[in-house]
């Protein structure tokens, strides 16, 4: 059941919280009670933080409060770092006091058999009674990086960016965040949805779908109780923002005995898969692919058509990428005669290569003085997207400034740069190019995956035009 309007309003208040209580805060190194305090203090959070713990007067130099009721006016968000029984009690007291919403970190609810379900039912009742939004339980919590509201209790090294991660697993969510981090891509939000007792994926999607800070939503889904709500949530959101989904549980064997064939054919994963596509989400197969695709959506426009140009001076990586790109429906139109002549004049009559698309400059292309003018020529042509390969060599200058300038000028058309170098060598270039708006990857496969996802989204956006 989607959350009601009051809860949705309060959820938005939680996500832009200015006053945050950390209940169960502790100075102990090995306590989860330290995590959110550390994160909030380290992040540029310009709101107020209120540690709550009757045992202390202050923690990390911040005044500590004896109870949630002793903070007045009530906070926008209370992060409850308490065991499941105490968390329920404090959630109710917080709601009664007027706190807008709570995060319950503790596990021990429906995921464990004994008594967990009853606790969860009780939590649902409290939420109903007070219209209380609850993140979790059984979650890392959430962070909103643009505000510096870094409220998760675990370490998460990232920076403000445009990708919102909604994850049913803390560990998988963090892995995707780190994948993005290594692609030099930051986050707008990280939300561990946990057991989704009160707030479910569809509620978070609704809360974020019009947020201008969110460029792309990345979901990790294990399974939900009501896939229809998820379907409708994704469908609504995907009309406004790209939605990328990574679904676990592909091998579950579902055989339902029914009178017809239909029932027995329907493994749930296949239904989820069909549902994601129908809703207009892009499905990915790994945490890394999730990061690659989310980066593309957070940086690039979708292509207006399928006409793609590729530029390289080393054939193989382009061939590898072309396989994937052509399979996904990209076309490789020929270059105009004038452009071919111009490229021929740049690389010289004697270079033994046929000028075509993909443009393989071979030896002469090693030099920025050849590569850059050729790039300028093809960028001026009528293509919808560009796949640009640069094979790194420390003795040859990487034309960062030129790439940034030329690609920026054509920013309506998606361009990916594939920088062939190992991670450590590539790091400074990855950072400079990406932060200047050039969507860069280290392998041809990742570059192709990125362009393919953009093409798929643009074909979703054009749905209904042909039929």
């Amino acid at each position: 059941m989607p959350a009601n309007e009051v809860i949705m309003e309060k959820l938005k208040r939680m996500l832009s919280a200015r006053r945050v209580a950390v209940v169960g805060a502790s100075p102990e190194q090995l306590s989860v009670g330290l995590g959110p305090l550390h994160n909030l203090i380290d992040a540029p959070f310009d709101g107020e933080v209120f540690p709550v713990n009757p045992k202390y007067d202050s923690i990390l130099g911040i005044r500590c409060y004896p109870s949630i009721e002793s903070i007045d006016p009530p906070v926008d968000l209370a992060i409850l770092l308490l065991n499941q029984n105490l968390a329920l009690e404090i959630a109710e007291r917080a709601a009664r006091h007027g706190v807008a919403g709570v995060t319950i970190v503790a596990g021990g609810f429906k995921e464990v058999a004994a008594g967990g379900r009853q606790l969860e039912d009780r939590l649902r009742q409290i939420s109903l009674e007070f219209d209380l939004p609850v993140v979790g339980p059984n979650t890392l919590g959430f962070s909103v990086f643009q505000n510096g509201l870094h409220g998760v209790f675990w370490h998460l090294d990232t920076f403000p960016g445009k990708v919102a991660i909604l994850s049913q697993s803390g560990g998988v969510g963090l892995t995707m965040a780190y994948g993005l981090r290594s692609l030099h891509c930051g986050l707008s939000h990280f939300i561990g949805v946990g057991n989704r007792t009160v707030l479910d994926f569809s509620d978070y999607l609704e809360a974020l779908e019009d947020n201008p800070q969110v460029g792309c939503l990345l979901l990790f889904v294990e399974g939900v109780d009501n896939p229809r709500d998820l379907y409708e949530g994704i469908q609504r959101t995907a009309r406004r923002r790209p939605v990328v989904v990574y679904k676990a549980g592909k091998n579950e064997v579902v055989s339902r005995a029914t009178a017809t064939h239909t029932g027995s054919l329907t493994g749930d994963y296949r239904l989820y898969r069909a549902m994601f596509r129908q809703a207009g989400a892009i499905e990915v197969e790994s945490t890394w692919e999730a990061a690659v695709v989310a980066k593309a959506f957070s940086m690039l426009h979708c292509p207006g058509g399928r006409r793609r140009c590729a530029l390289t001076f080393t054939a193989g990586p382009c061939i590898v990428a072309m396989d994937r790109l052509v399979t996904a429906g990209w076309e490789l139109p020929e270059l105009r005669e004038e452009v071919r002549e111009r490229i021929r004049s740049l690389i010289g009559e004697k270079t033994p290569v046929e000028i075509q698309n993909p443009v393989d400059l071979t030896g002469p292309g090693f030099l920025p003085t050849t590569y850059v003018p050729v790039l300028e020529s093809v960028l001026g042509e009528d293509f919808d997207a560009y796949f640009l390969v640069w094979n790194y060599n420390p003795f040859i200058r990487v034309p960062v400034v030129e790439l940034v300038e030329l690609i920026r000028r054509n920013s309506q058309k998606p361009a990916v740069v594939v920088l062939l170098a190992h991670q450590k060598e590539a790091e400074p270039f990855m950072q400079r190019l990406t932060s200047a708006g050039v969507c860069t990857y280290l392998t041809p496969e990742d570059g192709a995956t990125a362009l393919n996802a953009l093409l798929m989204r643009s074909s979703f956006q054009k749905r209904g035009e042909q039929s």
Binding site: P227, A259, T262, L271, Q278
Partner: protein, 223 residues
């Protein structure tokens, strides 16, 4: 409850879905009369709510090309009816022309709600399923995408081996009508059209299994 085939066929027909014409035969005179209009080859079946896997149970006689063959099949089915289901109905239909065999189903999934499945039908459905799914309601472009997702679609569309090519728009019309009939008549719980044979004159539902929600179903039919 499962509708007997001749009722399922009528329900589809009323919804404007192309079905193979069925003739109920209650006597040998009836049979001879229908045959004089239909010609050969024909199919004789026993339609019974108690037995949906007709082929496996030997209740379908295909491709009957002479009066002797038809008569023998009729006598056999009369015997089977007496032993299986006295309320069963013997039905006569023309042999469907050769064509690709497809499958279309709708189920009411406990979590996903109404789900449409579509794919390669007949015996291939169980051997090596090439199936695609969508949640209802669907847009027309969803139906297009369902066809495009089938691995076998490119070959079906061209006409696999000796089979006539499968046209996209007629098939999509049929799928859309099936989606509508399910959405408009919520007493239908599950539905299985298998096979839909796509001959030279377009798709025809040759066999329909319809499961009614017995709580909602107010039988307007009688067997």
């Amino acid at each position: 409850m499962i509708l007997p085939e001749h009722e399922a066929n009528r329900l589809m027909d009323e919804a404007g879905i192309p079905v193979i014409p069925l003739y109920r035969v209650d006597s040998r005179e009836d049979l001879a009369h229908q045959l004089s209009k239909l010609g050969y080859p024909v199919v004789l079946k026993l339609s019974s709510a108690r037995c949906t896997h007709k082929t496996e149970a030997g209740l379908v006689h295909l491709n009957l090309g002479s009066w002797d063959a038809v008569e023998a099949a009729y006598l056999d089915l009369q015997g089977r009816r007496a032993e299986l289901d006295p309320e069963g109905v013997i039905i006569l239909e023309p042999m469907a022309e050769a064509g690709a065999e497809l499958f279309l189903g709708v189920q009411d999934h406990p979590q996903f709600g109404l789900v449409m499945s579509f794919g390669l039908g007949g015996i291939w459905l169980e051997l090596n399923p090439d199936v695609t799914f969508r949640l209802l309601p669907v847009e027309r472009y969803d139906l297009h995408e369902m066809l495009d997702e089938l691995k076998t679609w490119p070959k079906l569309q061209k006409g696999f081996r000796h089979l006539p090519p499968v046209g996209k728009s007629e098939l999509i019309d049929l799928m859309e009508k099936v989606a509508n009939v399910i959405l408009n008549r919520r007493e239908i719980k599950e539905l299985d059209l298998n096979p839909i044979v796509v001959g030279r004159n377009g798709p025809v539902v040759v066999d329909a299994t319809v499961v009614m929600d017995s709580l909602r179903y107010d039988s307007g039919f009688s067997s």
